[in-house]
C-alpha cells in the first residue's frame, strides 16, 4: 500500500521492560512491561495520575527512567535517543506552539528540524487547516489546535506516533474527526500509541489496550479480550428503588452491585438470570422499574480491576 506516493514507514516492535520513574514521594511508574507491536493502535487507559503520560514521555525520550529498558527494534532508546527523535512523532498533552506564528510557519519551523519530512501543504489539507493556514496559532479553536498538533506530529513522516489525550476537551464532532485521523495513521502502516481516559474512545479506537493505575499495568489485551476476561456476560440494571437483596438467589447471578443511579445484577448468562428475575418479581409482586440490560463495557472492566470508576 502507498500513501501519497511516499513509501510506507517500517515501524518496529517497541519493548518497555521494567521501567520505573519516581517524582519525589510519588512512584509515577512502578515497573511496567509492555510490548507494542508495529502497525496497530495501542492505548494506555487509566485515570488522571495513573502514569500514562510519564510512560509516554519516557518512550519519547523526554524523561529518563530511573530503571528499566526501552527498546525500539534493535535500538536501545535510552542510549540512542536520536533514533526516537527522528522516527517518532509526538503530540503532547499540552502542545503549545508560538502563539504569534502562523499555522504554515509552525509546520515549516518543525519541518526544518528533520532530515525527512512530509510536504507541508499535504499536512494542511489532510487536517482541514486550509482556511487557517495563515492564521496565528493564538486565533485557532481548541479542535484546530489539536489538529495542528497532530499535523506537526506527522511532519517527519514518523514510524510511531504518540498522542497524549488527543481528544481531551474536544466536542463530540471534533473527537470523531480525530478518531478518523488516528485510524488513517494506522492505515498508512504507522504504529499509534495513545493515552486516554475515555472508555468509548479506547473501545472504538484501540486494537490493544493496557489498563494503568497507580503506575502499574493492571492488564493488557484487545478491548474484547479484556471484557471477556474480567466481565464476561452482561448486566441487568434496575432503578435503585427496586428492593433487591444482596443475597438474592437467581440462576447464573454472580453479584449485585449498587450505586446512586442503578442496581446492577452481573450475570454470566443473561437469559437465565433475566427469566429468574421476572419470575421472582411476579411472585413477590415487585414492579421492575427502570429495567434494562446491557453487555459489559470497558468501564465495567476498569471498575473490576481498580475498584473505582474512571470518573472518580
Amino acid at each position: 500500500m502507498w500513501a501519497g506516493g511516499i513509501t510506507l514507514p517500517h515501524s518496529e516492535v517497541l519493548r518497555i521492560m521494567g521501567v520505573r520513574k519516581r517524582y519525589g514521594q510519588v512512584q509515577a511508574v512502578d515497573g511496567i512491561d509492555l510490548t507494542i507491536d508495529p502497525g496497530g493502535i495501542f492505548g494506555l487507559l487509566g485515570p488522571n495520575g495513573a502514569g500514562k503520560t510519564t510512560t509516554l514521555e519516557m518512550i519519547e525520550g523526554l524523561r529518563k527512567p530511573d530503571a528499566g529498558q526501552i527498546r525500539y527494534g534493535e535500538w536501545d532508546l535510552l542510549h540512542h535517543q536520536k533514533v526516537a527523535r527522528e522516527r517518532f512523532g509526538v503530540q503532547l498533552q499540552t502542545s503549545a506552539f508560538f502563539e504569534l506564528l502562523r499555522v504554515d510557519e509552525t509546520i515549516d519551523l518543525f519541518a526544518s528540524f528533520y532530515a525527512r519530512t512530509l510536504p507541508r501543504d499535504q499536512l494542511i489539507d489532510r487536517f482541514g487547516l486550509q482556511e487557517k493556514r495563515s492564521a496565528y496559532v493564538q486565533n485557532l479553536s481548541g479542535g484546530q489546535r489539536q489538529r495542528l498538533a497532530v499535523a506537526v506530529a506527522l511532519v517527519n513522516d514518523p514510524e510511531v506516533v504518540f498522542l497524549d489525550e488527543p481528544t481531551a476537551g474536544l466536542d463530540p464532532q471534533a473527537r470523531r474527526n480525530v478518531w478518523d485521523s488516528v485510524r488513517q495513521l494506522r492505515g498508512e502502516g504507522r504504529t499509534v500509541v495513545l493515552t486516554t481516559h475515555y472508555m468509548d474512545e479506547a473501545e472504538a479506537l484501540c486494537d490493544r489496550l493496557a489498563v494503568m493505575d497507580h503506575g502499574h499495568i493492571l492488564d493488557e489485551g484487545s478491548p474484547q479480550e479484556l471484557i471477556q476476561r474480567h466481565r464476561p456476560g452482561a448486566m441487568i440494571e434496575l432503578d435503585p428503588s427496586v428492593p433487591i437483596a444482596d443475597d438474592l438467589q437467581l440462576p447464573s447471578l454472580q453479584r449485585v452491585q449498587r450505586d446512586a443511579l442503578a442496581t446492577a445484577l452481573m450475570t454470566e448468562r443473561l437469559d437465565e438470570t433475566l427469566a429468574g428475575l421476572v419470575m421472582w418479581a411476579r411472585e413477590h409482586d415487585v414492579p421492575l422499574t427502570g429495567l434494562r440490560t446491557r453487555s459489559a463495557t470497558l468501564e465495567d472492566v476498569f471498575l473490576h480491576l481498580t475498584g473505582r470508576s474512571l470518573r472518580d
Binding site: 525520550g61 527523535r85 503532547l92 503549545a96 504569534l100 510557519e105 518543525f110 526544518s112 528540524f113 532530515a115
Partner: protein, 356 residues
C-alpha cells in the same frame, strides 16, 4: 546552526507581530528621554526683584538689568519682595534708596540662602552686573576688557546626553531579563519547550536561538532609541560603534545569563515577574541610570560600584560622553567586570536550569 537560525527567525517574526510588546519596549525609554530632556534643557534665569519705591534710581537700575539676558527683573514693594525671597519665589531683591536722585546709589542685596549654590550664583551675578552697569554709567574706559568667545565644537552636555547611555544600559538589562526569564518560564509552563525537545533539535540549539534572538532584538531597539534621541531630541553624544556594540553585547550576555538563572529556579511566569523586579529595581535606581553614582552615600557606593548595571552604564556613558577613549583602560575595566559577571552567572544558570 541552521536550526538555531530557524528558531531565531521564528521568534523575530512573532516579535514583529506583537505590537503591544513593541510599543512598551519603546514607550518608556522615549518618554523618559522626552520628559527629562525638557527638564534638563530649561533655560535658567535669575529672578531678581528690585524695590526702590518708583524712584529714579529704580528705573535706571531696572533698565540696566533688563539688558542682561540671564536676569528676569521685576519691581516690588520692599516687604512683599523680601517675603517672596524668603519663601523661595525669587532669588534675591535689590533694595535701593528711595530718596537719592543721582548716583552713587547704595543698594542692599537680600538673597535666599537656603541653597548655598544658588545663593552664590545670585550674589556673584548681581555683583558682576553691577560692575558692568557702573562702567556704563561712568563711561570711563575699562582697564581690562574681557571678550568671551565660545570654544569651537564645545558641547552643552544636557541632561539628555547624560540620560541616553543610562537608558541604553537599562534597556539591555530589562529586555534581557524579561525576554529570557519571562518567555522561558511561560514556555516551560505551557509545554512549548517540551514540544521542541521531542524533535531532533538539541536543547542548546534552541537556547542558542533564543539568545541570538535576544541579542538581535536588543541591539536593534538600542539603535532605534539612539536614532530617536539624536534626530528628534537633539542628543549630542559620541558613537564609537564597535566598542559600544561590544560593551553592550557583553552586558546583555551577563543579563541574559541572569535571566536564565531566574528562569531556572522559577516554575511559573507569575513567580518570575516579581523576582525580576526585585533584582532590577534597585539597580535601575542605584546604578547611575538617572543620576551619577557619586551622589550616593558612601556605604551604598561601595556596594553599587560592583553591580553589573553600574559597569554597563559606566562603560556606555564613558564612551558616549567622550570622557573615555573607546579602547581605554576604563572601558576595558568595565568590559572585564561584565565578562566576569557573565561567566559567574552563566555557570550558575548551567546548574540551576531545568527544562520543566
Amino acid at each position: 546552526m541552521k536550526q538555531l537560525f530557524k528558531v531565531t527567525g521564528a521568534l523575530l517574526r512573532t516579535l514583529m507581530r506583537n505590537r503591544q510588546a513593541l510599543f512598551w519596549t519603546f514607550f518608556f525609554p522615549v518618554l523618559l528621554m522626552v520628559v527629562f530632556g525638557f527638564l534638563g534643557n530649561s533655560n535658567f534665569k535669575m529672578h531678581l526683584l528690585v524695590a526702590g519705591g518708583g524712584s529714579q534710581a529704580e528705573r535706571k537700575v531696572v533698565q540696566a538689568f533688563e539688558k542682561i539676558p540671564y536676569f528676569h527683573v521685576q519691581t516690588k514693594g520692599k516687604s512683599a519682595a523680601i517675603h517672596l525671597v524668603k519663601i523661595g519665589q525669587a532669588d534675591g531683591v535689590l533694595v535701593l534708596p528711595t530718596n537719592a536722585a543721582t548716583p552713587p546709589w547704595k543698594a542692599e542685596l537680600i538673597y535666599n540662602s537656603s541653597n548655598v549654590q544658588t545663593a552664590q550664583q545670585t550674589v556673584s551675578a548681581v555683583e558682576t552686573a553691577a560692575a558692568q552697569i557702573n562702567l556704563a554709567f561712568t563711561g570711563r574706559p575699562a582697564a581690562l576688557v574681557v571678550q568671551a568667545k565660545a570654544a569651537s565644537g564645545s558641547r552643552s552636555s544636557t541632561f539628555l546626553d547624560f540620560l541616553l547611555p543610562g537608558i541604553l544600559a537599562l534597556m539591555a538589562m530589562q529586555n534581557s531579563l524579561f525576554g529570557v526569564a519571562g518567555s522561558l518560564t511561560r514556555w516551560k509552563e505551557k509545554g512549548v519547550l517540551r514540544r521542541f525537545l521531542a524533535t531532533p533539535l538539541r536543547p542548546l540549539q534552541f537556547l542558542g536561538g533564543v539568545v541570538l534572538y535576544q541579542l538581535v532584538f536588543g541591539l536593534l531597539t538600542s539603535a532605534v532609541i539612539v536614532a530617536i534621541a539624536m534626530v528628534f531630541l537633539h542628543a549630542n553624544v559620541s558613537l564609537p560603534v564597535i566598542p559600544l556594540l561590544l560593551v553592550v553585547v557583553i552586558g546583555m550576555a551577563a543579563f541574559l545569563s541572569l535571566g536564565f538563572v531566574i528562569a531556572g529556579v522559577s516554575r511559573t511566569e507569575e513567580a518570575t515577574l516579581p523576582i525580576i523586579n526585585v533584582i532590577s529595581f534597585p539597580m535601575m535606581f542605584l546604578s547611575g541610570v538617572f543620576f551619577p553614582v557619586t551622589t550616593l552615600p558612601h556605604f551604598l557606593r561601595t556596594i553599587v560600584q560592583y553591580l553589573p548595571l553600574t559597569y554597563l552604564v559606566d562603560g556606555i556613558r564613558g564612551m558616549m560622553s567622550g570622557q573615555y577613549a573607546p579602547w581605554s583602560a576604563q572601558v576595558g575595566g568595565d568590559m572585564l567586570a561584565l565578562l566576569i559577571w557573565f561567566v559567574v552567572l552563566a555557570t550558575i544558570s548551567a546548574r540551576t536550569w531545568r527544562w520543566e
